[in-house]
């Protein structure tokens, strides 16, 4: 069992959890992920590691409570324990020798973009960070991101906070203003990562994306998370989750991620009616 030692609600549907997992904390690297399962009946769900504290033996995850498993996790409190927490999985991020980087986060993806910016900033790399949200109410981690970037631009789709528009508009403006990046890191919803890649492609700026396909085991034994990258089949759980965005078949990834959408919706309605989101047989 893995104890929740800290819980912080970042916005109405995004929660930060610090979890006691000394083995994972000892080995975790930026870019890696964990798989959790709340209880015996639960699903295995992957989440990228947002932070870790080797001395305290804790791992921080930031989760958007969108489906049954994440709602169950989000409903748990400090002192509660979850059944399974396995990691660190996947390959740590390799930034190479980039000197000037644009780190782009979309929505809850900022939770993953933030540690990347932090790692780069810590290495003395110039970091411009663009964080995009639908509207003002869901902005998360603003102070944290500000602290690890040379320049933070917040965008909102509806213009209720920061710059009006999408992250891609902000990135295009930075490029047009003459900023030369040798790496762009984009983490967020698949369409966002896809459009960022479309912006960077004509300039040939290397663009790294962190993919989020459906996973079961996360150790390379089922291929559920397979993606096509440069025409080759890759398993995101062992070959990724970071890939060269210009090589990724985003359309296929989007289709595959929608595989269980109808079932999930049914489940969500079902669970809301019966238990208000909390399992009773757990």
């Amino acid at each position: 069992m893995f104890k929740i030692v800290k819980k912080r609600q970042l916005n109405s549907s995004v929660v930060l959890l610090e979890i006691e997992a000394p083995f994972v904390a000892k080995k975790a690297q930026p870019g890696q992920f964990i798989i959790f399962r709340t209880d015996e009946h639960g699903e295995r769900v992957p989440l990228t590691i947002a932070d870790f504290d080797r001395e305290k033996g804790t791992v921080t995850i930031i989760v958007q409570t969108v489906g049954r498993a994440t709602k169950l996790l989000g409903s748990m409190n400090e002192g509660d324990s979850i059944r399974d927490f396995v990691g660190p999985l996947g390959v740590p991020t390799h930034f190479g020798d980039a000197k000037r980087v644009a780190v782009i986060g979309g929505g809850v993806g900022c939770a993953i973009a933030y540690p990347q910016a932090k790692a780069l900033h810590g290495k003395g790399v110039h970091v411009d960070m663009i964080a995009g949200f639908r509207s003002k109410e869901i902005v998360i981690l603003e102070e944290e991101m500000k602290a690890v970037s040379d320049n933070l631009i917040i965008t909102t789709d509806d213009g209720s906070y920061g710059k009006h528009g999408f992250v891609t508009n902000a990135l295009q403006e930075l490029i047009d203003a003459g900023n030369q990046y040798d790496l762009v890191v984009a983490i967020g919803p698949i369409p966002m990562m896809k459009f960022v890649c479309q912006v960077t492609k004509p300039y040939n700026i290397k663009t790294m994306v962190s993919l989020n396909p459906i996973m079961i085991d996360g150790t390379g034994m089922c291929g559920c998370c397979r993606v096509h990258v440069g025409g080759e089949t890759k398993f995101a759980c062992v070959d990724g989750p970071d890939f060269d965005g210009h090589q990724v078949d985003f359309e296929e990834l989007m289709r595959r991620n929608a595989n269980y959408r109808e079932m999930e919706q049914e489940e969500n309605e079902h669970i809301c009616r019966l238990t208000g989101g909390v399992r009773t047989n757990a």
Partner: protein, 463 residues
Amino acid sequence: MPNMSLTKVPMPEQAPDVRNKNFEEVATGYTEEMAMEEAKRCLNCKHKPCVSGCPVKVRIPEFIQCVAEGDFSKAYEVITSTNSLPAVCGRVCPQESQCESKCVRGIKGEPVAIGRLERFVADWYMKNGSDRVEKPASNGHKVAVIGAGPAGLTCAGDLAKLGYEVTVFEAFHTAGGVLVYGIPEFRLPKEIVKKEIDKLEALGVQIMTNMVIGKVLSIDELFDEMGFEAVFIGSGAGLPRFMNIPGEGLVGVYSANEFLTRMNLMKAYLEDYDTPIRKSKATAVVGGGNVAMDAARSAKRLGTENVYIVYRRSEEELPARAEEVHHAKEEGIDFQLLTNPVRILGDDQGHVTGIECVRMELGEPDESGRRRPVEIPGSNFVLEVDSVIMSIGTSPNPLLRTTTKNLEANKRGCLIADENMKTTREGVYAGGDAVTGAATVILAMGAGKTAAESIDAYIKSKS
């Protein structure tokens, strides 16, 4: 007086059209009377050919005599002195090519039903026997086992009986390996696997789940920081192969590992478990091994109307056990033999709509000695299916060999180990599918047993 019947006492089974709608065990097992009657068919041969066919050397005639006399407790003791998982072996071993293939009674008529008797004894003991296990005195030596599948569990059980402090590191949240994620409930109830594993824990074997060795700890750390004196690798062959034909990225294409893991480990077919699985109208399972049979029969039980086995050779070459093929046919699985997929077709939503296949004929034998299948030009046709399960084999996961120094593998990615299960690195032993590539449960158990003997000899030689 021996029972001179030429045939085995029949195994009671659920009727095909009943069982293909439920997940309960197909074969329901012998009664005490049936078991005693079958046991009397054993001639108690002096040279015991059956034992030589058993990878873990169960003292077969001895336990069968106990059954014939109605002393089931004693029979259990005899079996478990060499076999840690009898309820599993009695169910999933291919006895026809092992113990029973050597049985003298099989020369004229059917061999003695050794597997069914082993299963009977194990089940009887679970119900009626004592659940008290004597924990052996510790000898103070620590051994780490990587992987809680049949190889690792057997090795751990044997070492624990010798007094070793054994820790098993398992990547999944449940121990059992292929016994829990691969083999379906209707062939091997998970409750039985759990009880067998509980017994190992009572012997003192410590099982740590959620531990992916190679990620969370390296083999070096097991030795240097955690103080283990030897390591056994039983990490299996879990990496699925795909055919690399067009359409494998479509929605509705599964590897057999994914499909079976969702079904068996995550219990996706049960409503009160959260993991989803697609409900299909028609499914093509590509491949002809036991895993393909398991996937096809599971798909049928999910309510899939048409389930096809697509296999490129003929019935004779099917690698699955004859019994499984027979069961699958009875349950209504449609065998498309001498048929090979060319591509998977999808609609504009990216969902599977069919699988284009080509008919094959058998040509000259290839290097494996089997006749090579050759395409018949122009024989292409489409099977209309909305899901495809690829079951064309697996290979060992590269995680351990890529994170461990001096641990060598062959070009197929299988760890190199000698006949004593010793790898190229001192103190590290390996066995089961991690060494052989995908094989059988009982061969993995045999390897685990041999490795336990080697590890015992190695540690004794050092101290």
